[in-house]
Structures are given as C-alpha cells and as structure tokens.
C-alpha cells in the first residue's frame, strides 16, 4: 500500500492504494465516482478519459500512484454550480449521445482538446477524438456537438 494525495473535482483525497491499482479503479471504487466508465482492457476505447492537470488522459493507463499530487477532473466535476459545461450542453442539444456509455470519456477528451485548440475544423475534431470509440452515434452528432461547443465557448 502506498499513501497518495489526489485532488479530484476540487476535493483533496488522501488514500492508501495498492501499487497496481489503476487510476480508473481508484476513481470508481475508492472514491465511488462511477461516472467514468471502463470499456476495454487494452487502452483502446477512451471511455475512461479524464483530465489530469488539465490534459485529457485515459485513466486506465495511469496508475493511481502516478496521480499522486495531481489535479484530476472527472465527468462529475465538469458542471460548475449546477451549470453544465458548454460541452455537456452541446452533447445534449446536438444528440451527441445514445446509450451514453462512451459519453463521459468523449466529453472529457473534447474538453481537453478544445482547451488546446479553441476553434477547430471538423477534420481536426475527428482526428482529436481518434482515441475515443463510440458504437452508437457514428460520431456524426458527437463531432457536431464539439464544434457547437467550440462556437459557444468562443462567443
């Protein structure tokens, strides 16, 4: 067991974790934040995407001990004071989700990307989301939602 201290959605947590514990399992099981999903075992799907120190990361590829001292944002921390983030709003308005399983990871990837590139083209959005798989939407409305969010955040 190793003691770590991680700030998740603005709340500081001190916890003992096994060295092999993945960050996603720490988030889901120890912090009981179950919004971040696990869709694969090969770092392929992106369902587990979170922000770590402001950058999107697949939380199944990070050990909990590697997050020691980090600031983590999960989907639960995306809205502020009950107001949805523009990316959340856009996913709702553009029908960017069906079953919603990929959605938390997809939105976190989008938030991380729009921070780097606030006014992307459609092709850029498609490339940026390459690490996040969705089986329901054919990505059409996800891409639309990210572009709409970029517009909204720019205006």
């Amino acid at each position: 067991m190793k003691r770590i201290s991680v700030t998740v959605n603005g709340v500081r947590h001190e916890a003992d974790v096994e060295p092999r514990t993945l960050l996603v399992h720490f988030i889901r099981e120890q912090l009981e934040l179950t919004g971040t999903n696990v869709g694969c075992d090969t770092s392929s799907c992106g369902a587990c995407t979170i922000l770590m120190n402001g950058q999107s990361a697949k939380s199944c590829t990070v050990l909990a001990v590697q997050a020691d001292g980090a600031e983590v944002t999960t989907v639960e921390g995306l809205a502020s004071n009950g107001d949805w983030h523009p990316v959340q709003k856009a996913f709702h308005e553009q029908h960017g989700l069906q079953c919603g399983f990929c959605t938390p990871g997809m939105m976190m990837a989008a938030v991380g990307y729009l921070d780097e590139n606030p006014s992307p083209t459609e092709d850029e959005v498609r490339l940026a989301l390459e690490g996040n798989l969705c089986r329901c939407t054919g990505y059409h409305n996800i891409v639309k939602a990210v572009l709409a969010a970029a517009d909204d955040m720019g205006s």
Binding site: C40, S44, A47, V75, E130
Partner: protein, 788 residues
C-alpha cells in the same frame, strides 16, 4: 381521437441525457450489494479439447476465494441447458449447451471452471490456479471446411457439422433460369463481426435464501424473455425471479439479446452460496464470450433478360452457428431469407440455408441480423447484372423495382406494405448530383491519375417490427411478437407509461413521452416512462429487430387511446352529458356547443382517484393497458449512396460522401431517427472497410482485443447526409415502421459497390469485405493480370 401533435414529430432533446452527461448513469458495473461476491471464469484455450480433469483445489485455497467449481461440480444446477428459442426445422440438431463445459470444450472461450471470491481481482487471480488437463482435438473454424468430407466434428454425437437446412421455393425457378438471356452468379463472404457494444456485459444475482427469491440485474436487451428462460434453465419458479435491465444499458446491437452462460451461472452460484454474485466481462473476455455476428458464405444467381429485367433468383447460404446454438442463431439467416430479391420483382425464387457448427464463439443476431447479409448479396449482384447487360446501376434498380402500392407481392413470398421505392432513389440521386458525379469521374479517368472515384448504390427493403405472433409461429420462433404498455394518470395529473420495450440507447423514454404527452394533452415533462424491471413492467417482449416503436410504441399509443376513452366516460358523468356530446382536444373534454364546460385530463385523473363520483360500472383510477400484436411485419426501405476515392497505387479507400435516404414512415423524433441512421450506417461502413474477426486453424481468436479488431473512430468517417421519404405503414395505426437497423442493412453494399465502380475501368468486379488497402490492391493487380 383528436390528438394535437405538439411533441410528436419534433426533435425534443432527450430525457435520458442529463444523468448520462453528468456521470450519473446507472450502468451495472457500478452496482454493489452488501456481501456481494465476484465470479471469474477460466476459459478453454483450445478450439476443441476433451476435458480429462479439472482440479480446483489450489484456486479454492487462494486468498479471498469462497468457492471454485468445475462444470461437473455444477451439473446438478441446471434444469435444462442454455436455451435456444428458434428451432427452424423439425430435424434441427440442437447440442447440449451447459454454462460450464462438462466433458468437451468446443471453442476458445468455452468456460471450464468458475471461481467465486470476495473481490474481482482475487477471483481473476485464483482462476489462473485452476488446473485443467485437456486432450486437444482437431478444430474446424471455417464454415466451408466444416461441411467438407472428413471435417473434424464439433459435436461427436452428430454425424457431421450441419445443424439444419432450411429452404424456400416460390414459382418455377428452373423455368425462369432456362428462359433467361443472362445469368449472373456471384459468391460473397460475410466476415465474422464482433458487435462491440461499448458497455461490456455484466450480471448481478441476488438471492433471498429464506424465500427462494432471486433478483437478477443484467446488461440485457430482453429482461422479460430472460426471466422465463432463467426459470427454465435453473428450475426456479418464474414467479420467484425478478429481472432488472438497469435504467442505463450501454448499447446492445443484438449482443445483449441472449441468455448467456454467465447469467445462469451467477444465479446458480447465488443459489448455492446464499450471497449476491457479480460478474463483469473484460472487453477481451467479451470478445470470446459474447456472440459474434455474420460469418456466412453466400452464392447468389440472378436470371434476367438481356434488358436486365430480373426473372428469378437462386440463393445458397452456409451460415456459421459457432460451437453451440445461442438464443435465436438458427433463425438469423431466415430473417434475410425473404430478402435476397430486395425490393425487386421476378417470377421465381429459391433460397436455401445450412446452419453449420464450427469451433468458434457462437454467432447470433447482430444489428440487422440476416437482412444486411441478404441486402449485401442482392445489391452487389444487381450491380453485376448491370455491368453484364450494360445498364446504369441506378437505372437497373429503377427498372426492377416492385410497383408502388400496399401489400405488394415480392418474389421472396412476403407482401410488402407501403412500397414506393423510386422517390427515395430519386432523392438520393438528386442529393448526389449523379450526372455531375459521372462527369467528374470521367475526367479523373481521362486524367489517368492514381486517385479514382466511384459511386455505389444500395436500395434496400427490410423486415421490421418482429411480429405478428402467428407468422413467427409458422417460422417456428418460440416466442410471441406482441408487446405491452400500461398508461396511468396519477392523481396529480402526471402520467406514467409502463413499457415492455427495454431501451439501451434508443431513447424510448423520450419518444414514448412524446407519444403519451400528445395523446393525453399533458406536458412532455409530466410523463414518466418505466421500463426494464419485470416487477414494474410485468409484460414485454423487449427490444431487438427494430421492433420497439412499431410494436411497443404502438401499444403505448393504443393504451393512451383507452385512457382517453375511460376519461371520456368520467367527463360525461361529471358534466352530466352523454359521452357523444363531448369533444376531445389536447387533453380537454368540452361539451359540444358549450366550450366553457370542460374537464381537463388532470382534473379527471384526480376525480378518478378520489372516486367520489364515478359513472355506474366504472372503477376508480384512470389507467389502461394494451398488449399489441400487429397484423403484419413492417417494411422500411430506402436508397443509400456511397462515394469513395480509391488510391490505385496503395489500395487505400477514402469514403468521401455518404447519403442515406430512408423511409421509416412517420417519425416521432427526427433527431433520434437521424441518430439511429448515423450509428447504423457507421456499423455497416465498418463492416465494409475495417472489421473482421479471424480465427487461426486451431481455434484461436486472432482478433482477440480492441488492439487487433479495428473498431473505427471518428477519424474514419465523413459526416453523413440524411433525408427521408414518408410512406406510412398500413400495419399499425401510427403508420410507423422502425429505423434501428436500416443504416446497417443499407450501407455495406453501397460502399463496396462504390469501390468496384471506382476501379471498374481497370477490370475490377469484386473486392471482398472488409476492403482493406491490401485487398483492394490485390483486386486491382489480379484484374490487371498481375501477381495478386
């Protein structure tokens, strides 16, 4: 009934979204119960092997482990093997299928032992400690090899690997072929596909040992069907099983339309151990243990005149069943059996399909189930015919379309409702600018560069709304085709809709709310939709085969009608007039000619609840149910168009445009319908260009994880262009048809036809799916007479 359409037809944002976008989705992996144990399975690494011994003692002694069992240890848990509900012929061979193999493991992934521990990690670690001795046997993984003489047998008790042969003949087939000027004969393979719902499967079974009751949570599309089948498999009275499909299930596409070993196993373990037991699939484990789709070899012949008028069809299919028969697997080819003539005419039709065992993960219904395969064959073959007789591919379709009309007889034997195929083709051609495209293409060809463009068409018709029950009976399907709804007004004027459908991404909560809000004249926000829990929604046939709106949705609509009827009686009583003297509009009854004498639905709901003054013969409460069994299938159709650019030097294919014009009848929520088309189209394109599950000869699944099975990302698709024509079905009072599978059914042949079109000047006539750069390059080389 006068219904003001305030919500129906509008793109109302979904009620499902708020919890899903804030991380409050209730997916099953998040469920934890007090005292819950975790199961992990040890699976056979061999395609075919006799199990000579299983030693679980080291696993049982490991830290955290509560119990470990072999298949033999659990043999007395099963009242019956895992169920198969579609015995398509009288002489079909149905093998025993135990949740844990008892003597022979028949595919890589067949369970041979199970470990139960206090944590998932402890169970997974201990499963590695189970010692199994195998006698490895020869495996057969290829459907054609499996029917060859001397092939290794998947089931020793059967003489060969054929499960069944099912045939259908209409008209004088030999005559049609004898008089034909032209016969085209094509052979296609349908690659094996892995459905890849993004949420892996999971199950939790909770026992109440003192009463013998069980609650089972499962990531299933079919909670009601599963309840019946759990009862039969486990010998538990059905009345003591409650099945809950969580309010959020992360996609299915058919892969959760089943009764799986792990579901039965968790219930059995919960019964033995008296504790809740949970199992969650890892993605790679799911690749072995969740059904695959397709895996067919098809031969199709079309007889035609020299003008390209089709006279007859002959179709032979070999369909891989995998190692066992899963829930509806034998019937999957039958869902396509009537559609190898597409939306075209002709006088004669022969179809024959053999279901074949192979040492592979069982197949079953994957989005479209039988219909994508049929549509692929006819839409590819009609292009061959077009080339053969020198007719434009759009024109040959138009020439052979069945006439517009209702209940139009198809050579396949079914009568199609709402047939009107030309307008969808016309609209697609218009969106494409067909003439413009052909002149661009001619220019490119003249230029002679390496980047050539092509267009592909697919005009499909499909079968939806799986029902009516009587027709399903004639196909030997063991379940009914009805669905159920209860609509109840609550005392405060809100409404509850209880549905037998079981959504897992389709947005039924939103669409059913739209239907009920309009019918009852109350705000959309005031409707709650309850689903998925057999204690809450006692009746249902659930969600698959694009049936939900056309069956369960119509049941909601009809139940609302009945609520309004009952409300009319109460309103008449309270207003002291005859029921006929009332007008109903948007939730308000008013006395004809006296428009200020009214009773609103909320007022009547309250009056029905207090029951202070009711009409004679009337009971308190304002609620009605409907179990709807449609008189016919519905037949959505459309034309899809793909435009590709192919690099003739590398074989790389770039999908440049994708146009889908679909006709699913009137639309409840156009935004949701477009979304269904997008997702469906993407899965068909994925099959055409990227996805294929492959096995090594010894039965090892080579595409064993998401790393080597290519699920495409956003970067692989263009935006899609969608449009609709609207021809209402006559099979139900709403005229609706179904849209969940149309995209998958229409898309794959459009893409491959486009690739062939781009390369036709080089002599290419076929590229197999998935059309990887290597395959495209080889097709070019072999057409050019080079090495391939």
């Amino acid at each position: 009934m006068a219904t003001a359409e305030k919500y129906v037809g509008g793109g109302v944002p979904r009620k499902e979204d708020p919890k899903l976008i804030t991380g409050q989705g209730q997916f099953l992996e998040g469920l934890t119960l007090p005292g819950m144990l975790h199961a992990a399975l040890l699976r056979s690494p061999h395609g075919s092997a006799r199990i000579t011994s299983v030693d679980v003692s080291a696993a049982a002694a490991a830290e955290g482990v509560v119990a470990a069992y072999s298949g033999a240890d659990l043999a007395d848990e099963w009242a019956a093997g895992l169920p198969m509900a579609w015995p398509v012929t009288d002489d079909i061979r149905i093998p025993d299928h135990w949740p844990v193999a008892q003597d022979v493991a028949r595919y890589v992934g067949d369970a041979v032992a199970v470990v139960v521990a206090t944590s998932r990690n402890a169970a997974l670690d201990a499963a590695e400690l189970v010692e199994v001795d195998y006698d490895v046997l020869d495996a057969v993984v290829d459907v054609e090899a499996a029917v060859a003489d001397g092939a290794p047998r998947v089931h020793e008790s059967f003489d060969d690997n054929k499960s069944y042969t099912w045939a259908l003949t209409n008209g004088e087939v030999d005559e049609a072929f004898a008089k034909a000027d032209v016969v085209v004969k094509e052979r296609y393979t349908q690659p094996r596909l892995i459905p890849n719902a993004m949420e892996p499967r999971a199950v939790v079974a909770q026992p109440v040992p003192s009463t013998g009751d069980f609650t089972v949570w499962s990531t299933t599309q079919i909670p009601h069907v599963a309840k019946v089948l759990f009862a039969l498999t486990l010998g538990i009275p059905e009345s003591q099983i409650r099945v809950i499909a969580p309010s959020d299930v992360g996609g299915g596409f058919g892969s959760k339309l089943n009764v799986y070993a792990e579901e039965a196993l968790c219930i059995a373990l919960a019964r033995r151990l008296g504790k809740p037991v949970k199992w969650v699939a890892g993605r790679s484990e799911g690749y072995l243990a969740t059904i695959h789709g397709r895996d067919q070899v098809q031969e199709i012949e079309i007889a035609a005149t020299s003008d390209g008028d089709i006279l007859g069809y002959r179709v032979h299919i070999l369909a891989a069943m995998g190692a066992y028969l899963q829930l509806v697997a034998p019937g999957v080819p039958l869902l396509g059996a009537f559609l190898y003539c597409g939306c075209y005419g002709g006088e004669a039709y022969h179809f024959e399909c053999t279901g074949v065992f192979t040492n592979t993960t069982p197949t079953d219904a994957y989005r479209g189930a039988g219909r994508p395969e049929a549509t692929y064959a006819i839409e590819r073959a009609i292009d061959s015919l077009a080339r053969e007789v020198g007719v434009d591919p759009a024109e040959i379709r138009r020439r052979n379309f069945l006439p517009a009309g209702d209940m139009v007889q198809s050579p396949g034997g079914l009568a199609f409702d709402s047939a009107d195929y030309e307008p969808a083709l016309d609209r697609a051609l218009e969106l494409l600018d067909y003439d413009g495209f052909r002149s661009d293409q001619a220019e490119r060809r003249e230029g002679g560069g390496s980047r050539q463009i092509g267009v592909g068409f697919s005009s499909y018709v499909e079968i939806c709304g799986l029902a009516p029950s009587q027709v399903l009976a004639s196909l030997k399907y063991a379940a009914g085709g009805w669905d159920a709804a209860t609509v109840r007004m609550l005392p405060t004027g809100k409404a509850e809709v209880v549905t037998g459908s079981s959504p897992h991404g389709q947005g039924h909560v939103t669409s059913w709310s739209q239907i009920a809000a309009d019918a009852l004249g109350i705000p959309y926000e005031d409707v709650t939709v309850l689903h998925g829990d057999t204690h809450v929604a006692p009746h249902g046939m659930n969600t698959y085969g694009s049936r939900s709106l056309a069956v369960a949705g119509v049941a909601v609509h009809n139940a609302c009608d009945r609520v309004v009827d009952k409300a009319r009686g109460l309103a008449a009583h309270l207003l002291e007039v005859a029921p006929e003297d009332l007008e109903y509009e948007a939730g308000t009854f008013s006395v004809k000619g006296v428009p200020d004498r009214t009773k609103s639905m909320p007022e009547l709901a309250f009056a029905a609840w207090t029951a202070h003054s009711l009409p004679e013969d009337s009971e308190p409460g304002l609620e009605a149910s409907c179990v709807y069994d449609p008189p016919n299938f519905t037949f959505p159709f459309g034309t899809h168009v793909a435009v590709v650019e192919v690099d003739t030097e590398t074989g790389a294919v770039d999908l440049v445009r994708y146009i889908a014009v679909d006709d699913c009848g009137p639309v409840i929520n156009p935004v949701i319908v477009d979304g269904q088309v997008h997702g469906g189209v993407a899965q068909g394109i994925a099959a055409a260009l990227y996805e294929e599950a492959t096995y090594a000869e010894d039965g090892t699944l080579e595409t064993s994880s998401m790393v080597n099975y290519l699920v495409p990302s956003a970067a692989e698709f263009p935006s899609f262009e969608t449009d609709r024509t609207v021809t209402p079905s006559t099979s139900n009072p709403m005229g609706v048809k179904g849209i969940g599978e149309a995209g998958t059914i229409g898309s794959a042949p459009a893409v491959i036809n486009a690739i062939v079109d781009a390369l036709s000047h080089l002599g290419v006539t076929d590229v197999p799916m998935p059309a990887s750069p290597e395959r495209v390059w080889r097709a070019i080389q072999s057409a050019q007479g080079g090495e391939a």
